[in-house]
Symmetry: D3
Subunit: 277 residues, 6 copies
């Protein structure tokens, strides 16, 4: 179940911005007491996500008597599959249609892309990670959609993980000192990840006591050598220049994770429709 | 200038979700009083948008002493062009980096796609319209980005325009009655648009007194015939199955507008980077 | 049905400011579990409005078991008519009494004044329009009350209509240029209204392609001439120095609309009472 | 100085509801960098109030370079007097004009009516009180305007005073018990006011230890007798059927206060204009 | 019943700050549909407070099917007494456990300390008052807890009472002028309290017409003399250097109130546990 | 620097609840334009915290011309030391006094208690941890105060760390399975802590791959044996029945952390005063 407290603000904002001063067309044409049935259908091959938002959106607008989700988040659908059925005031169904679709299509787009990448490394030890390159305001929703598609979540925020990058190292005068400072500020409880761009950096990070090392923009040969050198002492995350085609080769190197910003920053909306009657 | 009142809530939410309980890494590694310079660069050919958000984001976090936007929204950039320069607390620059980029990359992605479509109909009477298929919570920002790219905005919300669709017609028992009701509810002040799927529908809409007719999913021949029949009595908007390749042919039919949901629902983030030092 | 999302913030604020740190008198004198019946009565001849707020107000405070609205918004009442019946915790009835009445009396005052003006033009083509001279924070509620009284709504905000005034004309160097610019910024979808103060201005506005012309402060003779000249090419709205007595004469000129700020900025509260038991 | 924290929410709401998705007309016609001068003028004889809101409204919208208030709240103005001068972005002046006037006209209307009543009892011991019959959301602003006009504030909310009415008495089985309970719940610190409808009620209230007695709907003779009987042991507040004409006679009875709901629930907006240039 | 409107913001904030980006441990280990029973137990001798918050907290998180409060606020409990029973989704019980306990333990700590002091003056005319030294954000909750323990509430805010301190006197040039000004600003309706540090101050305050006098930091002999001099013309409140041991002696002087900041600023959390199963 | 975004909501709430409908006393007695100097002084031996809030509080109320913090958070003060100096409108100084003190006294109380415990383990490897037993709404402020006193922060929320307790183990059928599930839900990035009550539990937790083990309610001998068995493979945190007196003996066992809820749930306000003039 999604966390209502986190998402409600965004839903209210979404309805407010779309309804504006009122749905003039619907309010003029459709009687206030008219009831109707509606349904959401996949119009493409996709992995669905965001279905739990429907109840919250309809609840904010009011007037729904029944809502059934037929395919929970993470379901793999074919074109024509029915995602959800709803019954209630016809005005509510029409007025909320676009907001419902905007959420469903976008989140299912993220889940579908995550699934495509997860499938590409299936059967290996490698898992697909998301990043913080999410749509501002949608962090939690998109991270949920990534998991629905079979991906794994990296940090939710700058507050629940330590990731030492080159600027941090520069400010501290070295990787070792950066790691030491990061641990000192109350974060013995958190793992420390260090970003490196070559194998020398990997050695330095391991020596400094990193728990995870982010291998940025390395080719497959370098990644293989990194796995060999690490000897399981740290978790290894590869990132940069990743494509669906390359993923099997990267997974073959034995890295623990591949992180891909595109899952959230460049997923396209998938086709889902809403039909009345 | 963007409307601060509308966008501030989203910016606060964006910073809160990304910073979480605090940027542990930066706060541990970088002294509170360290100052730094930074700059945003285009890493691709793109049309930039969202630059006015930078000042608001940095202002919320605090500690910035100067910020200069070199390329205002709508500028067409080459890879390497400098978008903006900033100076201030190093902590602020590092902590805000990802939120700034998430906004810039996404909005510039929208502007870039809008520009590509607008270019495809350049020199014709046809203009590119956006739709309500925007990212929930981002309606205004994305509509601004569409204009930055050379597109034209359709309705901002259900409250500032009337668009009669088949469900509305069905509820009223006919196009004429739907248009009459829509005008009656105080909206003599608003134009009435009617969606039709064939030429018979167009005739009916014109007879009913529509100001604009949305021609849904018609081929180029049908669009040409629609323009001929309308004789300028209504504005014509074409939508459905539009691609960049088809746009010149659609424009050649003489329709006033082509609306494309993809501009906002499927734009990919473009590559913009932030560099310290 | 009113739009809950829009009005809830005002209701919360209204209860908070009236209850303050708690209704000491009621909480001291009335047992927490005491139940009571109450009813709202018209104490004057009036058109009622705001009745849908009662359920929302009581719901925020809690403890109501039944609520029945006997006279929906727009009903014309005589002194003594029962507006609504409510049953629930006596504390809630007493604590919410003043806020309920403050809303009902004021909104019914607006509806009553709107009805008086609408009656004065009954049987003619002329309709009574409201303006943006509403109580800040109450725009939507007062516009709903205007319709309940038989008036017609003008713009809800600066975003859903174009009204070119003298300052806009001055900034553009002429009416024609002002209208052209207003249309260019994405608003082919919106009608353009132009304010004029004499017949020459009317001619210029029509020539510039205005859809509606606001005739400001003209006498009845000028209004008649304006109707004659316009020949139905534009909608005509008269405003300024309107009184109930003059309305029939203005309607006789044939203008489409008369707009009156007094409906919302100077309506007096009408007398409605709340009785326990 | 008004309390910014309290009023800011209303101002934001007022701007949002009036600007909607943006002031299309102004943004289309007036260049973003055009500067202008403006001024507010009284167009009637009035007591001004609400002037401190101007700075807050303009500050929310941005772009003002100077603002001078020439006549602080409470000033008695003639038609033509200049209330305030402002200089800044022409767009801001035009977009904020209506919201500024809506506040100024309404609050000055309250102050003007309060002054008229206060003048009617000038030179006597009697003071004019407001009530809780204020515009929901405007409690504090209207109470400030009442003082600007020379009135005195009664309770701000149900939490800062005790007023025992007939329903409270009924729930307690008597005035004495009602007063006792009201004091017991931590409010030895607050005065207790009791509402009575005749002289027997007055005697009972005094015996019960009331600090203030509200004499509801009594004629002048009864009020005189009440003053005689009270012998200064309690403060006396008269209410009901008060008109400006009757006020001097009521004041002559020697009551301490006359409370009048009309000051806030039925004040008419007074005429104030905004002129550019 | 507590006022939901006031407390809901704090509860939302409390859940948000404690749950952060989600209760990873519980969500990973406990199935979404697992149900469980739980109960809160006193683990110490205490006076309970805050029990009405449980329903609100669980309601925000969702998934509770029953909740029973066995010991309402103000109950005196022994170790082992069951405070409340709850049944619902196991995830909700686990995720909300800490927030529920943090509220219960702290508010019961306040009630317990208030009860200890109230017991110390039992049988005398003296009552225990709280102060404004409450936890910011918790004013209302802590004041409710004080009453649950048998204390009496002083002012809720600076707006519902007048308390003239030395700085106010200094600004006015004397107690008499300070009292006069305080009454003049619309507060004939409020009692006036004056703070004094010696008996001369008391005489001056009474002469100035104070309703209540705060005797700050006086010893028992001075308090007795103050009671003698006041002759019941004013209420007397003693404060400063109060301890549980001294309270009976202070009560013996005959003062009406003793106010103690420690009740709210230094109460320790009492031991309450939550048990599953 | 504290995170303004997080704390502002609480500060606004604190001012609103304390000021209520306005500081009647101050506004009546002190002229609006009177200026004054003030200062905060320690009246006890203490470690100060919360000083950065002063600027934010005064800024919300307005009218301060200078503010200087003499002793930053974490400073160890003697009675009489000056914490901060402020100059501005006398009204602002008086109206904000109590809110400023309520924050300073409470947060300094937490820092002072943390320092006392940190001192008790000085020179050992053991560090003092806080818990989630914080004042709801104050999580971040109190955690900052703990660090100011020399303590170390444990989790900020349920979202930035995994702590497997007995209920989680029960739901999973064993420690090993609980740890496996916790890691699987995207949290390879987070350390896993397991709570145990005896040495057998410790062995099981280590075998399951825990990173940290919480030793609950063990005596010093058991703690020593735990350290011996763990052989540095996991971090060890001791909790339960901790007192200042016992801390040196616990530190002598060699555990890495001692966590103490009392630091935040039972710290007493320390004495800090505000003086005008």
């Amino acid at each position: 179940m999604i966390d209502k407290l986190k998402v409600m603000g965004l839903l209210v904002r979404a309805l407010e911005e779309d309804i504006g001063t009122g749905d003039i067309t619907t309010n003029s044409c459709v009687p206030a007491d008219a009831m109707a049935d509606g349904a959401f259908f996949a119009r493409d091959e996709l992995v669905v996500a965001g279905t739990e938002l429907l109840a919250l959106i309809y609840d904010l607008q009011g007037g729904i008597t029944s809502l059934e989700i037929h395919t929970p988040d993470g379901s793999r659908l074919q074109s024509g599959d029915k995602v959800a059925s709803v019954r209630g005031r016809a005005r509510t169904l029409l007025t909320c249609e676009r907001v419902c679709l905007n959420f469903l299509q976008r989140l299912s787009g993220v889940a579908t892309m995550a699934a495509r990448y997860a499938d590409a490394v299936k059967g290996t030890r490698t898992r697909i990670l998301d990043t913080r390159k999410t749509t501002p305001g949608w962090r939690r929703l998109e991270k949920d959609a990534v998991r629905a598609g079979g991906g794994v979540n990296h940090r939710f925020s700058l507050g629940d993980g330590i990731l030492v990058k080159d600027n941090h190292v520069a400010a501290c005068g070295g990787v070792a000192e950066a790691v030491r400072r990061a641990r000192a500020r109350g974060s013995a409880m958190l793992k420390v990840e260090v970003e490196v761009v070559d194998l020398a950096g990997l050695d330095e990070a391991i020596a400094a006591g990193a728990d995870i090392v982010l291998l940025d923009n390395m080719d497959d040969a370098a990644l293989s050598e990194a796995v060999r050198r690490a000897k399981g002492r740290v978790l290894l995350e590869a990132s940069g220049n990743m494509t669906q085609e390359r993923l099997p080769r990267v997974a073959a190197t034995g890295v623990d994770f591949v992180s891909m910003g595109a899952i959230t920053h460049s997923a396209r909306a998938v086709d889902i429709s809403f039909e009345l009657g």
